[in-house]
Amino acid sequence: MKPASFKYLAPDSLAEALALRAEHGDDAKALAGGQSLIPAMNFRVAQPSLLVDLNKINELRYIRREGNELRIGAMTTQSAVERNDLVAKHQPLLFETVPFVAHPQIRNRGTLGGSLAHADPAAEMPVVALALDAKFKAQSKDGERWIPAKEFFQGFFTVDLQPTEYLTEIAYPDLPARTGWCFMEVARRHGDYAMCGIAALVTLDAKGICEKARLVYLNVGDGPVDASRTAALLTGQAITDEAMRAAADKAAGDEMNPFGSVHASPEYQKHLARVLTRRALKTAHERALTAH
């Protein structure tokens, strides 16, 4: 099918885009990379009356260091993130995960901010942002505010952005010392929506005991699913095979509600979560042992 008619505006600057947003509110649908929105429009699932194309706003495309954070402009493409040395050096979890996002052709156009603001429960970027406690900068004509990842994601395709705001920047804090990371997912074909995926972080103390863990899952709930009670149980423990198995059972058993699909029953998604939790914790633990 083909998209329904809409009015199209392509501002050159953020200031112009925010003025349009203030004027039109939720009627002004942002067009970022368009790799989720345009398919939805082609199917006429989405029929926005006004598109504000943000692609000409080059001031929103950057990756830079600020203090101990990596700051990424919302319109930075996923392939720019994938190829960036600062990301590789300072944000290994993000760097490891980006190649799992769809296909190379999609990542050439798809943006980090677009994926985060879209908040598809099956998407990789929200899971990584939540695991890393990233912060989101929302700007309006009248100012800006920072939103922690925990508050930004509010459920099925829903984020904490007001009708006057656009997401403009994402800040990823550096990993603490002695922290290992791992992202894994199971998809039927590379680039398809995964049936389950996990971002795991393990921080060890000087004696090798788990100081902090983080387990965040994709496609097992209405957004990125943070198994925080399971992660809290790992604190103060040695990361043994037994501890990893117990964590996997608890996370899959108590902390997720996968919906199931034609390709995977909820039980199978939980099975995947158990296996991925064990594997990802193992890798994250090994990496923590050799991290600085």
Binding site: K2, K7, I38, N42, Q105, R189, H190
Partner: protein, 158 residues
């Protein structure tokens, strides 16, 4: 009917000025308004890869872009690759290694692989399978496509 938008972009090396309703997809503009029918429309949601073109040298889906969004950019379609008498080495390799049967998916594969081979001159079979993971072929079973890419890499390195 909304107003038409005006735009200008470089198309296969030549300046192009055009206009279209904003909702017109780039692939439909290329095919129906300009007559460049090499880019194919398969799934219209970014999964099949048949519409892959180059924008500013990068492979993108022309079904997931509006024509008006090409404004100011450098667009290359499969028509820019070679002629019947002087084919691109990748096209030659597809012919020689039987990298196509019905040919519907081929333009998308070619436009995905042209920038890939420029960046990766000596890819392994596994690398190639990853590189073409965003293109679907319903005839070949992919093996001869992979063979063609390996052959093309050899030709382009020679």
């Amino acid at each position: 009917m909304t107003d038409k938008a005006q735009f200008q972009f470089t198309l296969n090396g030549k300046e192009h000025t055009g206009e279209a309703e904003p909702r017109l997809l780039l692939v439909d503009y290329l095919r129906h308004e300009i007559g460049l029918t090499g880019s194919h429309v398969g799934c219209e949601h970014g999964v099949c890869g048949a519409c892959t073109i180059l924008m500013d040298g990068q492979a993108v889906r022309s079904c997931l872009m509006f024509a008006v969004q090409a404004d100011g950019h450098d667009v290359r379609t499969v028509e820019s690759l070679g002629t019947m008498d002087a084919m691109h080495p990748l096209q030659e390799a597809f012919r020689e290694a039987h990298g196509l049967q019905c040919g519907f998916c081929t333009p998308g594969f070619l436009m995905t692989l042209v920038p890939y081979l420029e960046e990766h001159s000596n890819p392994s079979e596994d690398d190639i399978r990853h590189a073409i993971s965003g293109n679907i072929c319903r005839c070949t079973g992919y093996q001869h496509i992979v063979d063609a890419v390996l052959l093309a890499a050899r030709k382009m390195n020679a």
